[in-house]
Amino acid sequence: MNNLLVFPLLIPLCTAAVLIFLKNKISLQRWLSSLSLLGTAASAGMIVYQVRTEGIQTLHMGGWLPPHGIIFVADMLAALLVLVTTIVGAFCLFYSFGTVGEQRERYYYYTFFQFLLVGVNGSFLTGDLFNLFVCFEVMLISSYALIVLGGTKRQLRETLKYILINILSSTLFVAAVAYLYGVVGTLNMADLSLRVAEAGQEGVLNVIAILFMIVFSLKAGLFLFFWLPGSYSVPPAAVSALFGALLTKVGLYALIRTFTLVFYHDPVITHSWIAWMAAATIILGAFGAIAYSDVQRIINYNVVITVGFIAFGLSVTAKTAMDGVVFYLLHDMVAKAMLFILGGLIVHVTGTSQLKEMGGMIKRHPVMGWMLFITALAIAGIPPLSGFAGKLLIIQGGLQEHYFWLTGIAVASSFIVLYSLVRLFISAFWGEEKLSSNPQTVLSKGMLLSAGGLFIIMILMGLGSEWVYRVVSEAGNTLMNPEIYINAVLKE
């Protein structure tokens, strides 16, 4: 029992409720939401420290022992993800101060922002399948509001598609929960794992496993990502940074959790499906990243490639690959938020998102240019930077388990990522200066500071890989040995 576990949920929830009453006091709203994120980050840091020193932490809601009540579980993976979520969320919040516009801020922008964090943190911490569904819905409903807030034609059009696809996947989620409850009769994840092991994962349980795979793939953009490039390019940069960094990662987390804790008994079927879906995702995402000459589309397809890459690591089921998955997941949350923010800055400065119409910005904005360059290298996985260790571990795991073709595709994807991002860098920052008479070339300090903050975290993650690896390896250990999780939850 550890009451600290509920704070990453409770603090943003209370803040969101208070912010509803402060509709017109914008500076007060900003202060309160910043304070709340600092508090959440502090509690998340404490949770990571406790998991590191005392092992997996659990919280039984209302004192009901599992499997009867709802339980919150923080193993190393969940604790790290909550910490990184809060940090990335904080920088997206600072970035949105200057950029989302007063009109949005007046219409409950910060309230929705906090509710989104409630949903994301809840999804990471919960140990109950139906509670995961509820947290997903909290997150999704706030994301609908954040996408459509502002109400331009483009936003309305893309939100219609986004909401439809998510209603469909939520419906399938409830159906999958119903089937699973019908077969094994429990909803607690640790208890589910035991009962699935007892019943033997064959026949109907494999079908249910694949249904869960479809549901979470729709959320994560694994192979079923057709909705993603359109809907992530309509909201303001601060919001799409939040989405690109967090939403698909929650789907990936759910995939990782279900297929390492509950449905890990028949990897020949489930994990090879994930592997081929991952390969297809990488290849299709790579086509998209090369094909478009629009800043937002290039970044969106880079999100897709990463999802495929992480799912490939999950499908390998080796300790090294699992460490790589955790490491790359943490790195990518920071790096993608960074990339979306830089993309937003470029569009803000040039006033266009077409690569053809920009150029020569390095003279006016050297800091921004070199930050973009180094971020591109980090995402591609160049050694001293943070993307390297995760990619190395995943590829090493893939080779150990003889997935040569898939590993080849994963390695090739790094070149494509590098090409697409460097092309973005070259066309925006090199060459002749165009649009020099653009009035919008002034960047406020706040915008650069939020990008700079994420940049420093990314660099530190790369330079301190050894230190990060120690905690990541603990998370990988729990994922590879589900008994540790089950014992921590069911035996007090």
């Binding site: 609908y144 483009r154 909401i163 119903a178």
Partner: protein, 112 residues
Amino acid sequence: MELYMSLAIGALFTVGVYLLLSKSLLRIILGTSLLTHGVHLLLLTMSRLKTGAAPLLGQKAESYVDPLPQALILTSIVISFGVTSFFFVLAYKAYQKLGTDDMEELRGKEDE
């Protein structure tokens, strides 16, 4: 009894998916609500439709029906109610601004 319920749920899913694939936005929303009806009935059916008293301890019955799926359905109903009402308002707003409810005309990447 479960067999008849399964057939009915199957019919709801079929009609829901058919409506989801149509052009008109209102039909699509009706499709989503049929799908959620189907999935709530599925949740009820999957807990076995054994006869028993309503889950109230005051009934002092020999056996009760399973209370857990009822709680799950109640949660899911209010969630889908919230989402559906948001979807309806979004469709209304989209009709006002975009001037069409034909999903075919909402394709494309052009940015106004």
